[in-house]
């Protein structure tokens, strides 16, 4: 089976700054892919390029056999790539239900059998059905994140891009969102998940891609990545903080 998404030497320059340098990787259909890296590694830039918010300076973004590089974000949505935002962007004057309605009516992919029938059902699914008629501006951060997810799901993505969907959430809220991601994955949607919270991402992903300074540093299963010396170097600073001692393997999962 061909990969659902394949990045081929994607680079992005902002004036003099090389935010991404020839990043290549492939995502197979199905599964949750984690994308991690320190601040400024280029994770969000990469997400913006895949979702069509940014145009890459060079390279190709092949989604289901089509090059989406340079396509506008609404075109990417209609092709099946939908993103959520790190800082939620609700349509503040619209009700929660109307927010979801935008995704449902403009994400044009074919409906499949298991898809929810209407916006209310999606709200119920993410657990904010009771807020359906509230103005979205009045939502708490946790509920706004759920709304982000509900809106994106309403557009029926084949590939869902989640940008730090757990940032600013409590432990309980995080656990809840991660469970939702697992359920979305089970329904056959591929997820690319950018996150700072390593514990969250390691617990939910089947495959992790690590970035640093705009380049891909490593990829593999969470276990493989945590034991990769280069990754440990980036996150702990090999010889610095640990005083030359090798950090114990599996440092991330144990928090």
């Amino acid at each position: 089976m061909p990969p659902i998404l394949s990045l081929d030497r994607v680079s992005k320059n902002f004036a003099g700054l090389k935010a991404l340098k020839e990043v290549s990787f492939e995502l197979e259909q199905g599964g949750i892919y984690g994308l991690i890296g320190p601040n400024g590694a280029g994770k969000t830039t990469l997400l913006a390029i895949i979702s069509g918010s940014l145009e890459p300076t060079s390279g190709a973004v092949i989604f289901e056999g089509r090059n989406l590089a340079g396509a506008k974000s609404f075109a990417a949505v209609r092709a099946g790539v939908v993103r959520t935002h790190q800082v939620p962007k609700p349509f503040r004057a619209l009700s929660v239900l109307e927010n979801v309605e935008v995704g449902r009516r403009f994400g044009c992919r074919e409906r499949s059998a298991g898809d929810p029938e209407d916006a209310a059902q999606i709200l119920d699914w993410v657990g904010i059905a009771h807020l359906a008629h509230a103005p979205s501006a009045t939502l708490s951060v946790g509920d706004q994140k759920r709304l982000e997810l509900a809106r994106a799901l309403a557009a029926r993505p084949a590939l869902l891009l989640c940008d730090e969907i757990c940032s600013g959430l409590t432990e309980a809220e995080t656990a809840c969102i991660l469970n939702l991601l697992r359920k979305i994955d089970k329904d056959g949607t591929t997820i690319l998940y950018v996150e700072h919270n390593l514990r969250a991402i390691m617990s939910v992903s089947q495959h992790v891609i690590v970035m640093n300074y705009g380049q891909k540093l490593a990829e593999g299963t969470p276990q493989m990545v945590q034991n990769d010396p280069a990754v440990i170097e980036v996150y702990i600073g090999g010889t610095g903080i640990t005083g030359g001692r090798q950090p114990r393997p599996g440092f991330i999962a144990r928090g």
Binding site: S51, S53, K72, S73, F74, V77, R78, V82, R83, H85, K89, P90, F91, R92, A93, L94, E98, E101, V102, G103, R105, F106, G107, C108, R151, A152, A154, A155
Partner: protein, 318 residues
């Protein structure tokens, strides 16, 4: 829900019916003229609100459509075309202009778009002042072949205002309207959910321009004389934006109320305060933006709620 909507339609129909018979009840020509002007303003106010209120794109340049519509209708009537055909032409010309203006300017956002529309509007006025075919700065006259029948003009302007209202309601209820609201709230987020903002803005602009152009055409046929400093005036562009803001931007009835208020008091204000009337509008605008961004509709709504809750309290504590 259905009943509520139907009763709203019924009340609207009743209002229109009253307006239809009103001039037959012995209203003087000056009152009819005032109502005619009010309907023209209500139409452009509703039109502006489709782009500016629903779509959040603040344009100062609607005088361009108003003026082009006026000139197109005047030229059409003088070449012997029927009134309705002339109005369709006026709408068409204005719509074409909206694409010419929108294609470059909708790449700009927020205040930059607003500033660009000011520039375009002034440029068109200057060009029209120097076009010899339509008399340049000296203006253009419609040569009337038949007698002047004020009631014909009255009914045409009323019909156009009703049409604008229907368009506004339909847009607000449609998928297209949802796209406009989403764009107004956050253009990037809308695009991230599959809305094509550029296309939606162009369409809203075109619809608004067509209605505004037709309104310009209706006015031109009544006035029978138009000139660039009149129909293309920057103050017209400002007035068109002022009305929906006074009434309640982004609502269905706000632009209607704004148009009525402006239509009914404008002449009186200009006559009483020839130098000061713009200052009065400016002050009003500042007051509304500061204290009641939802306009008169928001103000009435608040009074109504206060009254209703006072009545409830009184009913509960006799």
């Amino acid at each position: 829900m259905k009943f509520v909507r139907n009763s709203a339609v019924f009340r609207f129909a009743l209002l229109v019916a009253i307006l239809v018979v009103l001039p037959l009840l012995g209203l003087g020509p000056n009152a009819v003229r005032l109502l005619f002007v009010t309907f023209v303003w209500v139409t452009v106010s509703i039109a502006w609100n489709i782009l500016g209120g629903f779509g959040g794109q603040v344009s100062f340049g609607f005088a361009v459509f108003y003026g082009l519509g006026a000139y197109a209708a005047a030229l059409a009537v003088n070449s012997g075309l029927h009134t309705v055909v002339a109005l369709l032409l006026a709408a068409g010309v204005a719509m074409l202009a909206s694409f010419v203006i929108g294609l470059p300017t909708f790449r700009l956002r927020g205040p930059y778009f607003a500033i660009a529309t000011i520039g375009v509007s002034e440029a068109v006025r200057v060009v029209m002042t120097n076009v010899p075919m339509t008399g340049g700065a000296s203006g253009y006259r419609i040569l009337e072949t038949g007698p002047f029948r004020q009631l014909d003009h009255f009914y045409i302007s009323l019909a156009l205002a009703v049409l604008a209202m229907a368009a506004s309601v339909e847009v607000r209820r449609s998928k297209f309207g949802l796209a406009l609201l989403a764009i107004r709230e956050d253009e990037d987020a809308a695009s991230d959910l599959g809305v094509n903002p550029f296309r939606a803005k162009l369409l809203a602009h075109a619809l608004a321009a067509a209605l505004t152009g037709a309104a310009g055409g209706v006015y031109a046929q009544y006035a029978a004389f138009i000139h660039p400093q009149g129909v293309f005036a920057f103050s017209i562009g400002v007035a068109i934006l002022l009305m929906p803001i006074i009434g309640g931007v982004g609502t269905i009835w706000g632009p209607v109320i704004g148009g009525v208020v402006y239509g009914l008091i404008h002449d009186e204000l200009v006559a009483s305060f020839p130098q000061l009337h713009l200052l009065i509008y400016g002050s009003l605008l500042i007051l509304i933006v500061l204290f009641e961004p939802a306009g008169l509709v928001g103000l009435f709504g608040r009074w109504f709620r206060t009254l209703a809750s006072a009545r409830r309290i009184r009913a509960a504590n006799p």
